[in-house]
Every structure is written in C-alpha cells, then in structure tokens.
Amino acid sequence: MGTPQEAAAGTVRTSSDAASPDVSTHPPAGESAGVLRSTAVGPQDAVQLLDERGESRHDATFSPYVEALDAEDLRGFYRDMATVRRFDTEATALQRQGELALWVPVVGQEAAQIGSGRAMNKADYAFPTYREHGVALTRGVDLADLLKLFRGESNGGWDPREKNFHLYTLVLAAQVPHAVGYAMGISRDIAADPSTEPAAVTAYFGDGASSEGDVHESMVFAASYDAPVVFFCQNNNWAISVPFEVQSKVPLVNRAGGYGIPGIRVDGNDVLAVYAVSKWALDHARSGLGPVMIEASTYRVGAHTTADDPTKYRMMAEEELWKAKDPLLRLETYLRGEGLADDAFFEQVKNDGDELAAHVRKATLALGGADIRQKFATVYAQAHPLVAEELAWFENYEASFADATTQPSTTQASTPQGGAA
C-alpha cells in the first residue's frame, strides 16, 4: 500500500517538531537553524492496536491492516504464538537433559516474531539472529530443524532458499549487512528484469546488536541505495545482562531519523500492531520507497540462553511487570471477548503444541552425533596444509586418552544421556 504515515504515536517524523531538551544547568542551544532539537519518539510512545487488557485501539494508518484480517487469521496469530512457546519449553527441557549444547529461549517475544513474520510475503526474505524461532514457524520451517545447530549436528539445519529464511547467525549483528546486500540484490534483479516479483527483506536484530557498527553501516547503505529492507529491532530490554538504558538514552527508533528513513516504534507484545506496522514497512520497501526501521518494544522473560541466569542481574519485580503484558494473554482475552475463539479452540492449540513437542523431541533424539572430523573437512573446499596439521594434532590428542579405542571423537551434544537396558 505504501500510504504515507499519519502522525501515529511512535512514528519518527522527518521534520523535527518536538520541544526543547530538558536542560537545567547548561543553557539550551536555542532555536537557531542548525540546532538539533530533540528526539521525536519518547520512551512511552508506541503504536498499539491491542492494549494490555485485550481491548482494541484505533489507529488511522495501521488499523486498516488488521481490519482486513478474518477470524481465522486472528486465531492463527494466537496458534502460532502458543505453538512457538510450547516448542521453546521443549527445547529448553532438551538442553537441560543434555541433548542440546545450548538453547536460546524466546518466551515473551512471540508477538514481535509472529506479527512480523506473518506480515512477510512468500517472496520476501528473512535474516534472523539466533532467537527467531517464531519467525521460523511463520516461514514454514520444521522447528525440529532449528535444534540441529544447537546440538552441534549441523552448521545450519535447513535450506534457506526453500522458505526464504536465512540460517541463524550467531555473530552479533553480522546478518544485518547480509540482509542489506540481499535487498540491494533484489533491486538489481528487478532493474535487470522488470518482470521479477517485487520482494523485501526483513533484517532481525536486537537492542544489543544495535550498538554494533554493522548496523550503522547497513543503515547507511540501505538508505543510500533505497534498498528494500525493513530493519526489525526487537528491543527486549536486555543485552544479556546489560540493561537497555545503558545501550541507548533514547528509544532506538530515533536513529532512523539520522539516516533519513522512516522509523516506527511499536508495542512488541501486541501481535496485531506488530503485524500492521510490519506490513506497512514491507509495502513501503517493496514499492521502491526505501528502508524502514521498526523498534518493537518487548521483553525477554527468560534467560538470554540456557547458560545464563537472569536472577543475578535483574529484579523479579521487573519480570512480573512484563509478564502482565504477556502477548498471548491479551490476544486470548480479545478473541474470547469478540467471540472469535472458544475453549475447544484453545484446547486444540494446546494438544497440537504437545504433538509438535513430541515430534521435536523424537527428531532431536534421532539425530545421533556429529563427528568433529566433519568440521575439519568443511573448512576449505580443497585440502589445506594448516587444516591437515590441526587435524593431525587433534587425532594425536584423541589417541592420548586411555580409553581412546572405545571413545571416538564426539561433541557433547552428540552424547546420549541415557540408555535402555
């Protein structure tokens, strides 16, 4: 659609029109031309279509996207969020049972992921971090495939070209320049062959990654080349143990103004609002108007990874505050209130989730183990003297163990933690 934004809360306007900064001891810079005034989007501003109590709110720009949805679509949002949460529980348990080396929980961020994922077209392409399990679900990836990486079984786990869902990137922010490059490629494809289906790219990253230089460089390139990319930042308030206030003094969305691209801050726990703003942004990018930045304000309810313990750096009260803003709860309230879903539906969702969990468990346990020699074999396409030397060192090391003959090289994750008599 690409309609111009109205003055919705949480959107960055191109002309600065906000009040002067609150400075008490230092004289204000004044009203002269050339003096930057203030941030356009404050910490309380965000696009919201479904509030914490499950009541809908109207927004002239974004509500029409939701009004176009039918009851089945809305139930689908809920089903996806519940499914990924159930999957997440199972994966966490598998890690605790020694079947995965690591797991990255997503609890709390379901709306940001399902909303943005569902807004994408089939031809659009997603570049995830390592936590986009919900987006993977909306793209049609078998969730069991996500666990291969975390078991050390595979460097990827799926074919990214099949569902236009890129492999997980563990290096912080590294996927963002990749996404921009891919988006610039789309522009060139269209330029070379105008019959190419227009598509956009979503670059996922977090509040922590926003401090990486890669993100800055990506935004510069995307703006300069009008690349069809949506920078989708899930601000979950914690970069492992670093709170957001340390990361940035103003909502991240304000940075969009510096690059001259539109920015939208959205309630990341409101799946309908996330869907609507993502749809708007993707349309904007796809129609050749250039990139958009979205900051989805959400919260990582659980640990950063299974190797992290959030009780060591944040208070329970804060977690409780955010649990009250749970994305599933408010949509359930809305669906029940509008008569769009009943007990039978929620029961069915729960059963389907358990079934998926059983499938994921079975598939994970069937993976067996990876051989580390395989890793040496895939460093270079051809034989390489350094790799050969390192492999020889490794073989020698392995042979130095007393139980070497009965102990082939394995990774931790490959080890079954139990056995049948």
Binding site: R96, Q97, G98, L365, S400, T410, G418, G419, A421
Partner: protein, 460 residues
Amino acid sequence: MSNLFLFNLPDVGEGLTEAEIVSWKVKLGDIVAINDVIVEIETAKSIVELPSPHAGMVAQLMVAEGETVDVGTPIIAIGSEISAVAGAAAPAAPADAADPAAAAPETEVMKPLVGSGPKADAVKRRPRLGSASAVPAQGASNRAAPGQVVPVQALAAVAPPLAKPTHVLAKPPVRKAAKDLGIDLNDVSATGVRGEVTKKDLLSYQDQRTAEQDGAGTFWAPAKGSGLADDPRVERIKVKGVRKATAKAMVESAFSAPHVSIFVDVDASRTMEFVKRLKVSRDFDGIKVSPLLILAKAVIWAAARNPSVNATWTGDEIIIKHFMNLGIAAATPRGLMVPNIKDAQNLSLKELAVALNSLATTARAGKTQPADMQGGSLTVTNIGALGIDTGTPIINPGEVAIVAFGTIKQKPWVLDGEVIPRWITTLGGSFDHRVVDGDLSARFMADVAAIMEEPALLLD
C-alpha cells in the same frame, strides 16, 4: 526384563564440568513423566532445575544432596519398577536378586537411547595415557561408582543442611571477589543503579571489616554522653568460647599458684649463627628454622637437669613427669591456644623443627584440636615474635613453669672489657613456688640461658 534408564548429569551451561546436587524433587518409587522436574542443581553459573528425560518410576537416586559430581556422572535411574540394586537396601525379594539387571545394570544401561550415537560421555575428564595419577584422581571420591548405590534414606541422612542462596544482584567479577574475600553478598549494602552490589560496595564493606580489626584511626568516639550503661561509646563483647576458657584458666592459675618470676639477659649471638648455619644446611632443606627451635631444645635439656620444673601440683602430691609435652602458646584466629608437642624429649633437632612448624601451621589455620592442647607439661611463650623484650608469663594450669622468650636484637654488650654489638635476648620465667623454689628456678633458667649462649652444649 524391565527397562532402566540412567540420566547422566548434563552440561547445562557452556563448558561446565561439574555441578552440585542441591535437592531432589522426587523420591524412590515416584512416577515421573517426561519433563517433570526431578532435581535442582547448582553449577558455577546458576541454580537450575532438571526435567526428567524419561517417563517411569524412580528406581535409584545415585548422588546425595550436597554432593558435587562431574558432568556425565549418572545421577538417577528411572525404570518401570524399582531396580533390584536399590531394592537390596530394603530386604530384597529373592526374585529381585535373581534379576540379571541387578548384577550388572551399568553395563546394560550404557546402551544409547536411540539407534545411533556413541556410548560414553565425552565431556567428563577422560583418563590420559601415561598419567598414573589421573585415574585415581578423578575417580571414586566424587563419582558414584556403578553399583555403589546408596539407598535414598541414607542419602538424606548424610546430606548437609543447605542454606538456600538469597537473591542478590551482582556481576560475576563481584561475586568472585566476594567469594575470594569470604564475604557473603547478603551482608553488603547495594548502591548499584539497579540495586546490584557493585565492586565499590564490596570494597567499602571490606574496608569497614578491616577497619573493625585494625581501626585505630577511627577507634575513639567523639565525646558525648556521660558514660552510662547505654553510652554508645562503649562496646559490649559477649565473653564466650576461647576467651572464656582463657580467662578461667588464667584466674585459676594466677590466684591459686603463687608465681615467682625471674629474668635473665642472654647473649644469643651463637644461637643466631647456629640458626643461620642450619638454614643453609642440606639436612634442613625445606624446613623452617628459628631461634625458637633452639630455645625449645634448651628448655627440654634444662628440664631434664632440673626435673621439678616439669611437674604438676595436686595439693597433696607433686607429680614429676619423665616426659616433655612442650606447650607453645599461639595466637590463633579463635584466640590464645597452647597446643603441645607430645614427647618432645624424644625428638631430634630436625624432628622438633618439623613439629614446631606443623603446630604453628595448624594453630594459624584455626584447626588445633582439643587433644593437641591436653597433657602439657611445660610451656614456652614466644613474645619476641611480637617485638617484646620480656614479661611476666602466667603458668598454664596443671603445669608449674613457663618460659617467655623475648625478642632478639643487637644491643651493646660488654665482652672482655669491650663494648661490642651482640644479639641479645631476655628470658623470663614464672614458676609455681609451691613446687619450684627460687634457687631451682634460677638454676633452670641459667641452664636454658647457657644453651642459648652456647648451643654446642646440646651435644653434651
């Protein structure tokens, strides 16, 4: 035959090697479903709950609460019935004993759960070839050996009480520093922006703690109030433990035994030379040697020549001891203690040196046992270690003599009509006059002094 699954302790963090079993959430015979929480463990990173990977009945809890085990150690067995191994603790049914699973469960359970995958756990430390110590070092002490299964009731009995850690916010380096300093983070007031204990908080707490021990600068409280009972300028310390015992013993001694104290200045230059030679001798390599060693030897030698100093007064008898349990007064973290070296008369100089060292090390570590302090026959107090010249020591109850060893320092000394610098010390002695008369005490002290003047007399 029944199925039996073993659950090995997983690495729940990244690269953790061990964890402590904090509490079991299931007991023998409980039915568990997949993902039911079975146990809470504490790793170097955090406390986590482990969900059951298997459905069935809890057959064995293989590690006691409070025990720390390596990653890869089997911690629980889950089967369709309580296994014969555990059943044997309660009088086992004969049928159980006949079950082949009872004989060798560990060989069978090592089979992988599913078709593929290697058998053993690569994470736990594997024995290395050509490293003899590696095998016993990692073994049985902290790993439940296969078949060495303790019934759950017994496990509960040996488990130490565990204080649930309180929720304190702090960054890992701060936690580490607190641990190193022996500070409980709960005691430190937090000033961090998010209510966390900062490094600064920890250090100021440490400073305050040190100041309490060594707070001369801030000791005097500003004058106010009148010195009444509730005067904030007075500090009340409960008398207990070693302080109480010391007070009782000293009163008993000082007011029941009439003390006579005598002093003698000694030229200890040859003792100093002797100590210096011993320090560099191959025979004493690695053994700490000090003038106290020579004094101890001198006291033993002199006591043999003046036996009544090595005695006990009972009221109607004087018990002369034909052995020397040489007491050494030592300041310890718990207070003053007087452990003694048993049968010190039988020890060679080298053995005596070793005994003195281990006595001092044990005392400093606060690990002196009551038995170490019983049956003393004569005591030496090394006040010279604190830089004091001499003093009037109080006899250790049950004994009749004590020798105070003052500091040794260079002083002007007249030798053959000339003033020359020599290493001088003062020996002080207190004696129970009921047993040891003035002349006897003087002879004993002169004998001790003689050895300090000329250690070669020990060869006599």
